[in-house]
């Protein structure tokens, strides 16, 4: 068993980055995720694994530093929250367009605008439907524990390099700020320069006589070529939809009602279903782990079993649209969620289920 530590979610991400052999982190402080860069600054991984840590002048700069380093074949990541993530939309669209692997973490806080620094889940659309311009998608992982904050870093990089695509970790202030026990995985050495060149033959590692020059670009002035490129991207996204759907089912076997919730809401919901079962109501929890690709088919299947679904999100109702698309009016689907940094209590969530779904 790996080393056990009590850590904040944000610290776990940072520690996992060092252990996963990440080459560089570029970022800009913002609550509630500044601990990521602070932890890294304190650990000085530059002196151990050689990982570079740099505070950029802005989120615009950091996402474009990511672009550069990722284009050169390195394992790189950044993290931010709300306003900072919005500033990265152009860069993310470029990264997706240029097919670069990287991991980007959003520790979501309440919006819109400057909003509040308390936890929220209101950036679901931005993450899953593409907040930037153009047709692109990212794999979106939603950790629901500090352990997953750690585990999804190496997983994220595996997927990012497998698909040459950005992977987005959609966390929130609750998961980022809480401490839990984490089992830390063992250190993975950073790729050597030779390994980088071999594993990423497309990367700008310097044109050697043996190969054509490598170009990282998202520009295709000729619409015909641009369309081919887009089709290639779409094929990749279809493959993700087929192969990368991840979810967890808790007490779903005998469930008559279902709560669908991810991340921190899934934690709340876990307690809600306990409360429900104490009252004799058979409720299950379906937790999407990948928000893109979204587990449409699995939820569709559940819709054949249960009588109604409550989407529990810290938002005005975003994921609920995907659930509705999956379920297609077969059964009742409703949203319940608090906003602006208020976190629904387990009891409140159960009450919502009773009123909105079981009710009539």
């Amino acid at each position: 068993m790996g080393e056990l530590k009590l850590m904040k979610g944000n610290e776990a991400i940072a520690e996992a980055a060092i252990r996963a052999g990440v080459d560089a982190y570029f970022g800009y402080p913002i609550t509630p995720q500044s601990e990521v860069i602070e932890y890294l600054a304190l650990q000085k991984p530059h002196e151990t694994t050689g990982m570079v840590v740099l505070q950029a002048e802005s989120e615009l700069a950091s996402i474009n530093m990511i672009y550069g380093a990722a284009g050169a074949g390195k394992k790189v990541m950044t993290s931010s929250s709300g306003p900072g993530i919005s500033l990265m939309m152009e860069g993310l669209s470029y990264i997706a367009g240029a097919e670069l692997p990287c991991v980007v973490v959003n520790v979501v806080r309440g919006g819109p605008g400057l909003g509040t620094i308390q936890p929220a889940q209101s950036d679901y659309f931005q993450a899953t439907k593409g907040g930037g311009h153009g047709d692109y998608s990212m794999i979106v992982l939603a950790p629901a524990s500090v352990q997953e904050m750690s585990d999804f870093v190496p997983l994220g990089f595996d997927l990012a390099f497998k698909y040459r695509n950005p992977v987005f970790i959609l966390s929130d202030g609750l998961i980022g700020q809480m401490m839990e026990k984490v089992e830390l995985f063992d250190f993975v050495p950073r790729w050597t320069e030779q390994e980088i060149i071999e594993k990423n033959p497309w990367a700008t590692t310097g044109k050697t006589p043996g190969r054509e020059r490598n170009i990282i670009t998202s520009l295709y002035l000729d619409p015909g070529i641009q369309e081919k490129h887009n089709e290639k991207l779409q094929a990749k996204y279809r493959k993700m939809k087929k192969e990368e759907v991840r979810f967890e089912k808790i007490q779903c076997d005998d469930a008559e009602y279902l709560i669908v919730a991810y991340g921190s809401s899934a934690r709340i919901a876990q307690k809600s279903i306990l409360l429900a079962r104490e009252k004799g109501i058979k409720v299950g929890l379906f937790r999407p782990i990948t928000l893109f690709p979204f587990p449409f088919n699995e939820i569709k299947k559940m819709a054949n079993q249960v009588k109604g679904i409550l989407s529990l999100e810290l938002s005005a109702g975003q994921m609920v649209e995907d659930i509705k698309m999956a379920v297609n009016e077969k059964i009742k689907v409703e949203h319940f969620g608090r906003m602006g940094g208020i976190i629904h209590s387990p009891a409140e969530a159960l009450e919502a289920l009773e009123q909105k779904i079981i009710g009539e």
Partner: protein, 262 residues
Amino acid sequence: MKDELYTDIVKEENLVYKKTSLMTDNILSYCPGCGHGTAHRIIMEIIDEFGIQKDTIGIAPVGCSVLAYDFMNIDMQQAAHGRAPAVATGIKRTWPKKIVFTYQGDGDLAAIGTAETIHTCNRGENFLIVFINNGIYGMTGGQMAPTTLPGMKSSTCPYGRDVDMMGHPLKIAELVALLPGTHLVSRQAVHTPAAVRKTKNIIKKAFEYQLKAKTGTCFVEIVSNCNSGWKMTPVQANKWMEENMFPYFPLGDIKIEGKLVQ
């Protein structure tokens, strides 16, 4: 000249100048007479001369030179508008032994990319920035740039740049020269043989620094033409540039080996 004489001279062994093979054979997408081509070529000549093709990574901006990667036979990345210095920072920090340079226009570097330019130079990122100042947004069809001269016309100041409304042309080289992070700041041109030679020497120096040690950011501005944007013939444009651009953007070294030239 007699044909025989000509064929006698035009022989491999008599070759004195030929486009470097580090320029690809793609036809340059630039307008006739545009300085971008010359600027590209001297950079590639230097890389060729140093034998560092395999160690060099270039960053193309958004601007007419967005397609620089079609012409420069090295590994390259195309960066978002204004963000080339951040992209280069990402590369150079993670590949400190590679030779890295950005190639950027005035809209890219001195308007939307101002923050990245200043902070890159302030951190003294150890790469070269080549800055093509043609006083206009060439690619998008001739809009006003931060460096458009007072009274000069563009499609977004069709009655001439009014400095009271739109500000004065920005001398960004003079600004970055003040930052401790810059090691070399120079302003040059590429419209005459002498200018080309001088510019090449300066850029060569910048590559040398980067090859040798971590010295800081090198920033070479090339005052260039945009005959399409200026609505002149190439020859007129070069003349106009000498008469109007050079007085405002005087050529010469501004900072050498970390010291301001005065």
